[in-house]
Amino acid sequence: MASISTLQFHSLSLQPSIWVSKHRTPALVLKLRPQFGSSNSRFIWVRRLKSTQRFLLRAIDGSVSSDPSARNDEAVKSENKYTINLKDPVDKLHGMISSVSPFVFTMRQRVGSNLAIGLCIATAFLVVALRVFMVRKSKYNHQGSVADLVRRGQLRSDRRGISKPLMYDDPFNNPLVKVGKGNTTVEMCGKVYRLAPITLTKEEQAIHRKRRSRAYQWKRPTMFLKEGDSIPPDVDPDTVRWIPSNHPFATTAGDIDEDLAQTNVYQKHGVPYRIQAEHEALRREQKVSRLVMDSSNATDSVDAYKSGPKSTEHEEESPISNQAGNSKPPLLERTPNSFGSISPSEEMHKP
């Protein structure tokens, strides 16, 4: 509320100040002052008001009053003003403050310059933000627009980015490759690269060539033979290239027997079928061995028949166990069991 009232006073006080400046009656203002100076806040406001008034007075005096007699009158009036002011302690203070008025004026000037600096910074930020926004927008538009054109069929996607080849007479004077002064830098695609001269000499090349001739002794193979073939008598063995029999280059059309490829049922169904066939063969083998064992030990076979379902279950489990590991160990495990030490059937008969 205080600020609002101050504002109101300020707006009201402008009129008397102008009026005072026009009619050159500072005495009226001096009479008004004690009315304003009742509280601290108002006092501060009055101080501002007074300085403003004085400033306005001086400015108008400088521009309007040209004759020296008028100036003298004004000086007399101002002296009168100060003398009247000194009677009141509040006016003393006013006098002090009025003496500091040039400082206040400079402060105001500085405030004005700060405002200008702030305005400049704000403008700069605005320009930067606008530039970033424009760059992003243009980039987005560029990509999106071409993509949209391709999608709409207005631009063929297979001709994107393709134009006429650059024609220039001197191949080593490409305008897109700008070599800097002294051949120390090169500019390509907007980037500047530092150049370093080639230091390889003919002597160094010869040294490398000699090193390689010692390191690599090679003759071009003139004959490709598969492993197991015999070398023809008139062929240098160094020029024979031995190709492993499973190498794709070693397989020629003559090696492929189409009949075998058609009738090879094991290969026809791939690896799982072959594994299945192996398991079936193993099971058959196990059955045969079991039959042999049953004929040799009649009691065991009777027990085995009594516990028939279990044994068949065990038989069915065996291929699964064989699948997981080696096929031989289950067979070996089963054989001593059947011959007698501890079999599942015996375990059942035990109490």
Binding site: A124, V127, V128, R131, V132, D158, R160, G161, I162, S163, P165, L166, P171, F172, N174, L176, V177, N183, T185, V186, M188, C189, K191, V192, Y193, R194, L195, A196, P197, I198, T199, L200, E204, Q205, I207, H208, R209, R212, S213, A215, Y216, Q217, W218, K219, R220, P221, F224, R241, I243, P248, F249, T251, T252, A253, G254, I256
Partner: protein, 234 residues
């Protein structure tokens, strides 16, 4: 200019490309006119591609060095005239494909990357080429990253040259545009705006034509001179 592409025989290709043999090749059961087998580039009418692969099941003939010499001779004897360059793309490694590819070659361009494993392999390949009588060997260093060279995380082109002792045909900086243009199926050198790798390729091609070599190489990127208003993005 003509580029021959030797493909490994594992992937069967369409028959129009695979059975590209010359008319005077005696062992070919099916002969296709060479003009039909050559794939002409739609942008450059004087640039043609010939894909050669060895069909395993259809052609009972190993496509070896002798067959490639026949192809090259046939290309030279064409009515349109002898091509300026026949570039034979050599398969990686030192295998039968390598021997086939180098058989008709007069000179070689070795492409390597600046890492130690590639350089050892490259040194061996150069040794084999020199043993075979190919002495005119130039080198191209591919996928060079100047920022890594500056941080001493990658060998510079000069280091590579010191290790191999070959004259330098070109230096290709690492560029994502290479992958993009490959996938798009367009030559990198025709890209507009020009790319860094495209310009480097073009320069290398000019050196090949002019039988020139590099005199200076890019080492590192110079830092940009920052202006007074660089803080504000200027």
């Amino acid at each position: 200019m003509l580029a021959l592409q030797l493909l490994p025989s594992l992937n069967p290709k369409p028959s129009s490309f695979t059975t590209a043999t010359t008319p005077n090749c005696p062992t070919a059961p099916k002969t296709l006119p060479l003009d039909q087998a050559l794939v002409r580039d739609k942008r450059w009418s004087n640039f043609e591609l010939l894909c050669i692969s060895k069909p395993r099941s259809k052609l009972p003939m190993g496509f070896g060095g002798k067959a490639l010499v026949w192809v090259v001779d046939a290309l030279k004897a064409r009515q349109e005239g002898c091509p300026d360059f026949i570039l034979i793309d050599c398969p990686a490694g030192i295998d039968a494909g390598f021997i086939t590819a180098i058989t008709p070659a007069n000179e070689a361009v070795l492409v390597t990357t600046p890492d130690i494993t590639s350089l050892r392999d490259a040194d061996r390949v150069i040794g084999l080429l020199e043993c075979d009588g190919i002495r005119d060997i130039k080198m191209m260093v591919n996928r060079v990253r100047t920022d890594m060279i500056k941080g001493e995380d990658m060998m510079s082109v000069l280091d590579v040259q010191e290790m191999l002792g070959l004259s330098l045909l070109g230096m290709i900086p690492e560029d994502t545009e290479v992958i993009r243009s490959t996938n798009r199926g367009y030559p990198l050198v025709l890209n507009r705006p020009p790319t860094l790798a495209g310009l480097a390729f073009e320069q290398a091609a000019w050196r090949l034509v002019e039988q020139d070599t590099m005199k200076a190489v890019m080492v590192e990127e110079e830092p940009k001179k920052r202006g007074f208003f660089s803080f504000f993005g200027g």
